[in-house]
Structure formats: C-alpha cells, structure tokens
C-alpha cells in the first residue's frame, strides 16, 4: 500500500527507577495510519509492583490527531481504574486542552438509551403489542374516515375543489402509462403460459377464455390496485408526512380545519372514483395483450378470439372486478393517508411512512382479495 510509507506509530512501555510507567510514543498517530493496540500498556499495568504514576514520552512523536487522543483517553481510563495518577504535563498543550474539553461535562448516565438485549419471548411480546396497537389505530382511523364521510354527505366537510380535481388527475390520467404497461404485459404473459399448455390439447381457442376471465375477474383490479399502492399510496404518505414535518397539518388544525376532511377525504374520493375507471382500462389492455399472443402466435382469427372472450366473460365478472377495484382504491388511500398522518417529524420518518404505506396497502389488497374470492364463491357470482 502507498500508505505504508507513512509508518504507523510505535509504542514502547518502560518503567523508570521511581516506578513511573513511561509510555513512549513515536511516529505518526493518526486515524488513517491506524493506532497500535493498547495491550502493551495493559500488560505493563498488570505487572507488579503497581506503577506510581503514568507519564508520556513524546519526543519522537510525529503528526497526530484524534487517534492519539482516543489512545490517551483509554490509557487514562486504565490508570483511573487502578488509581494511578496520570501525568498530563507530559502531553502536548493542544491535546491537554482537548482532553479537558472532553472531560468538562460528565457523561450523563440516563442520557444514553438503555440497550439491553431483549429475550426472544420479550421481542415477540413487544411485536404483538405493537401489532395490536397498530390494528386499533387503523380501526380508529377507518371510523374517523367514516364520520368524515358522514360530514361530507351532510355538506359540512370542507376541502378545496381545486385540490380535489388535481388529485383526481394525479390518481387517474397520470397513472395511465404505468397501468397500460403492467396490464398489457400481464395479459400477454397469461396468454403465453396458457397457450403452451392448451396447445397440447389442441384447445388454443380457450386462451381467450383464460385471459378474459382471469383479467376481468381478478387481475385487472389487483394489478391496478398494486400499481396504485406503489404509486399513489406512497405519494399520499409522503405528502402528508412532509406536511406534518413542516407543521402544515398543525396550521390547518389551528385554522379550524380538520386534517381528515381537508386532506384525507379528497384523496380517498379521488382514488375511489378513479380506480374503477382504471380497472376497466386495465381489463381492456389485458385482453388486448392476450390477443397479441392469440392472434400473433396461435394464429387465431381476431374476430374469433374476441368473440370467444366476450362469450366467456359474464357481465357479473366485469361488475365484480369494478366493485373490487373501488374497494382496493379505498384501502390504498386509507393506508397511504394513515401512514402519512402517523409519520414522525424527520426526513427518515417520512421515508418510513411511504414504505409502510405501500406494505400496508398491498397487504390490505391481498386480504380483501381473499375475502372477495370466498364471498363471491358463496354468493355464486
């Protein structure tokens, strides 16, 4: 290494006639060259008889920085443990002053966070309690949102129409490109996987059924919802979290506005309104993606492919998908807004809030998806 030219500092410990432990330091004592271990000094302390005092010999000392300082502090601690006085007069003036500065305010014992390693059981307990608190907070939030909807229905909720239409645009038209991409690809992949299997039975025409039913019943809504959770849910959490950091939410409160009415309601309404439309769009794109494989790869006539699709998909499949999408939209908006309002007041907390909003949103979507599947099965839809 090129650094080897700058030699690491040397240490030599000796005892003088009067029992003084002389620590002789030579060469560079800097952080970048590395600091020698303190073991020599420890051994010297351990030897008997106990040294009368500790002194430094720094005649050959080269450049030094905090590396030397931390070493000297450790020597000082060793000396203090054994009640051996440290002769500070042998240290350079600048170092003495730094040491005095570091020692000026005694360390506050209770200032350091207690970090005892918790047992496995305790950690499980804490995690369970946290999950319980979180579930309660979420239920309370859903309750408050419901009340806010009640105020909206009575015409008492207050938010700016302009904010609302902007949010509608952000949650609607602005999301089209990514929804296009994902839906089209998912349709294509479905058709491709299905085609490979169905071709063996000569039943390639059923690719149209497969794609049509899967996309319209489930995938259109779920894929759109997951895209929106990552896109809009995270944005909501980040927006509200930042507003908390900048005290904008406090300002709203002291101006007599309810943050729930003013910020959460328009976001929720926007997503709830746009999700069904995005879902329909996603359905169409998914079927189009499937037809690419059906027509291009399996050489089915376009008219046959689309006819087969329309025959396979019932209107109840379509409405079911749209209803699901609406519910997913509410879930995404609620997780985004909740995490944003729960955010702490630092930049990392806002990042955590956005992450948590996406995770909560996706979990909620999947759980709701399962509940819908069971409910639709029981209802025979």
């Amino acid at each position: 290494m090129a650094e080897a030219a700058r030699k690491r500092g040397d240490i030599a410990v000796s005892r003088s006639g009067d029992g003084t432990l002389v620590v002789r330091l030579a060469g560079a004592w800097t952080l970048d060259t590395g600091v020698p271990p303190i073991t020599d000094v420890e051994q010297a302390f351990a030897g008997s008889p106990k040294p009368t005092k500790v002194a430094f010999d720094l005649a050959d000392l080269g450049p030094w920085d905090s590396g030397l300082m931390s070493f000297v502090i450790r020597v000082g601690e060793l000396a203090a443990e054994r009640k051996v006085p440290l002769d500070e007069a042998t240290l350079p003036e600048g170092l003495r002053r730094l040491l005095a500065l570091a020692a000026r305010v005694p360390g506050q014992k209770d200032a350091r966070h207690a970090k005892r390693p918790d047992s496995w059981l305790a950690r499980v307990g804490v995690a369970t309690l946290d999950a319980w608190d979180d579930a309660q907070a979420m239920l309370a939030f859903v309750g408050e949102v419901t009340l806010a909807f009640g105020r909206l229905a009575r015409g008492q909720a207050r938010f700016r129409a302009r904010d609302f239409w902007l949010l509608v645009q952000q949650a609607g038209a602005d999301a089209l490109p990514i929804v296009t991409l994902i839906s089209f690809l998912v349709g294509t992949i479905f058709a491709f996987v299905g085609a490979v299997q169905l071709e063996r039975f000569g039943a390639t025409i059923y690719v149209a059924d497969l794609v049509g039913i899967a996309v319209v019943r489930e995938m259109g809504a779920v894929m759109t919802a997951i895209v929106m959770a990552g896109r809009t849910g995270a944005a909501y959490a980040a927006q509200l979290g930042t507003m908390k950091v900048t005290q904008e939410i406090d300002a709203l409160t002291t101006m007599g506005f309810s943050a729930l009415d003013f910020l959460v309601l328009p976001r929720l309404l926007a997503l709830c309104m746009m999700m069904p439309l995005l879902c329909l769009y996603s359905d169409a794109l998914g079927i189009l993606g499937g037809s690419l494989i059906g027509i291009g790869m399996l050489h089915l006539p376009p008219i046959t492919y689309f006819n087969q699709t329309f025959n396979a998909v019932a209107i109840s499949d379509l409405t079911g998908g749209v209803v699901k999408a609406s519910v997913y939209g509410v879930l995404v908006a609620i997780s985004g807004c909740l995490r944003g309002l729960q955010s702490g007041s630092s930049s990392s907390a806002v990042g955590d809030a956005a992450t948590s909003a996406v995770v909560t949103g996706i979990v909620a979507i999947i759980v709701a998806c399962g509940i819908f599947a069971v409910a639709f099965y029981i209802l025979g839809i």
Binding site: R104, R158, Q247, E248, A251, T253, T254, G256
Partner: protein, 268 residues
C-alpha cells in the same frame, strides 16, 4: 378586534395550573400565568425547556394532562368542538417555518381561512389577502408559490396568514430562528407595529435575547430542571432585580454573569 386602550391590563389569556406530560414523563408542571390585552408576552427558556410544547398546549395541538387555558375567561381546553372552533378564530399562529401550504400561492394561503369563515366573494378575498401580504412587506408576491420565496419571506407570509381573520391574539413560534440579524430585527419591528396599530395581544416563544429585550412587555421563564416557571415579569426588570434567580440571570446575560459555574467560559 379590541381597541388597545380600554382593554389594557385586562386578562386576555389565562393559563391555570397547567401540567403537561407524555405518559408518565412530566414535561412541565404547575404553570400559571396571565397574558393581558395588548401584551407582548414572551415565553422563554433554554432549548428543550418545553417552550414550544407549552405553546402547542395553549393553541390546542396537544392536550394538557391537567389545568386549563382560558381566552377572555372562556375555557379552551375544556370547550366542546363547536366552542373550540369559535375560539380558534380568535387567534392566529405563525409557525417556525411559516407552515405555508406548498400547493397554494401566497394569496391562496392567506385567503384560505377567509374563504372558510367569511362570506366574502373570491375577488374580495383576494383583495384582503393582498392587503395582509402588503402589511408584512410582501406586496407583489401574491401569486408566488412558497417554494419560490426565501425563508424570511415564508415567516412573513405565515404572519399574513395568521392575521387573515384579524385575530385579537397572535402566537409566534421562534420568529427569529434561522433569520439573519437584520431580518430578525425587521420581524421584531413588525410585531411591535402590529401591536401598536391593531392592539393585538402577542405571545412569542423565543430564546433570542435581542428580540426579547426589544419587544417584551411581560414574560415567563421556563426552567428545565424544576420543570416550571422560575421567573416572571418584564425581562429588563428581571435583569435589574438582584433577587432574580441566578439561572434566569445567566440566561439573560448569555452566561457571562456567572463565572463560578464549573466549566463555563473555560479560558484557554
């Protein structure tokens, strides 16, 4: 809005036996003080002494564990939702960073409460907002977004918004924080001007000594260790009174008054 003369020396805000705690941890205890009409009242204390927390409790952002905050004798802490809404319109708050809504222009920021609580038309709201912005020296910036102006201007726009509804009380949270000495001085002058011309009662949370001496008519000093008020009155009088608590004296003199405190002013 109240006239400055006839209401003078009548209690405007009364804080009674307020105790603030997060769970078991007490932040401040037994706070009792009165802010009179037309006062420039300073809440001072070292960083971390709970000044801002006290302010948050006075304006209803946090709920005190015990005690009451009254505006003109009407309880705010124990008021119901409707009563609280009414009291909220009596005061305006300027937050540390201005807390302007970033998606709205300055005029829209100032106009927001006007649109909510008055029956003014959009054009009238815009006119009032323009006037308020002119009062804080931001004439011509009506259509700027907060991201387009400087930190000092945020604070002034924050004041304009706090004044939108002509409140009788204005709260300022650390108005000088992050400002250069000149802007800070201009803000002090603005605060005094508002009090003189509108008769507004002003409550300021700060630890900036020049501001404190320039504007205060009354104050309380919050102490970290005893978690309560250890001095009250005008800061100038505190400084002159030999009986003032040494901690307060140290604060008001930037620690120069007190040499025997260990370590302070370690001369090299």
């Amino acid at each position: 809005m109240s006239a400055p003369v006839d209401d003078a020396k009548k209690p405007h805000i009364t804080v009674e036996d307020l105790t603030i705690a997060y769970g078991e941890r007490v932040i401040m205890r037994d706070l009792t003080f009165t802010v009179n009409h037309g006062d420039v009242f300073i809440i001072m204390g070292a960083s971390g002494s709970g000044k801002s927390t006290l302010l948050r409790n006075m304006i209803g952002l946090n709920e005190p564990t015990k005690g009451d905050v009254k505006y003109d004798g009407e309880s705010f802490t124990h008021a119901d939702e409707a009563g609280r809404q009414k009291l909220l319109q009596r005061f305006g708050v300027m937050y540390q960073g201005g807390a302007l809504f970033s998606s709205m222009t300055l005029a829209e920021n100032v106009g927001l409460p006007l649109g909510e609580y008055t029956t003014l038309s959009d054009a009238e709201i815009r006119e009032v907002a323009t006037l308020k912005l002119a009062l804080v020296g931001l004439k011509g910036f009506e259509d700027f977004f907060p991201a387009e102006i400087s930190g000092g201007m945020w604070k002034r726009a924050g004041i304009a918004r706090a004044m939108a509804l002509d409140p009788d009380i204005l709260f300022f949270d650390e108005p000088s924080a992050g400002l250069d000495p000149i802007s800070s001085r201009q803000l002090d002058d603005l605060i005094l001007e508002l009090r003189e011309s509108l008769g507004t009662t002003i409550v300021v949370v700060t630890h900036e000594l020049p501001s404190i001496f320039a504007i205060a008519t009354n104050s309380v000093f919050l102490d970290i260790e005893s978690k309560t008020i250890i001095a009250r009155g005008s800061p100038q009088a505190m400084l002159e009174d030999p009986k003032t608590n040494p901690k307060v004296r140290r604060f008001l003199t930037r620690g120069e008054d007190d040499e025997q405190h260990e370590g302070s002013g370690a001369h090299g």
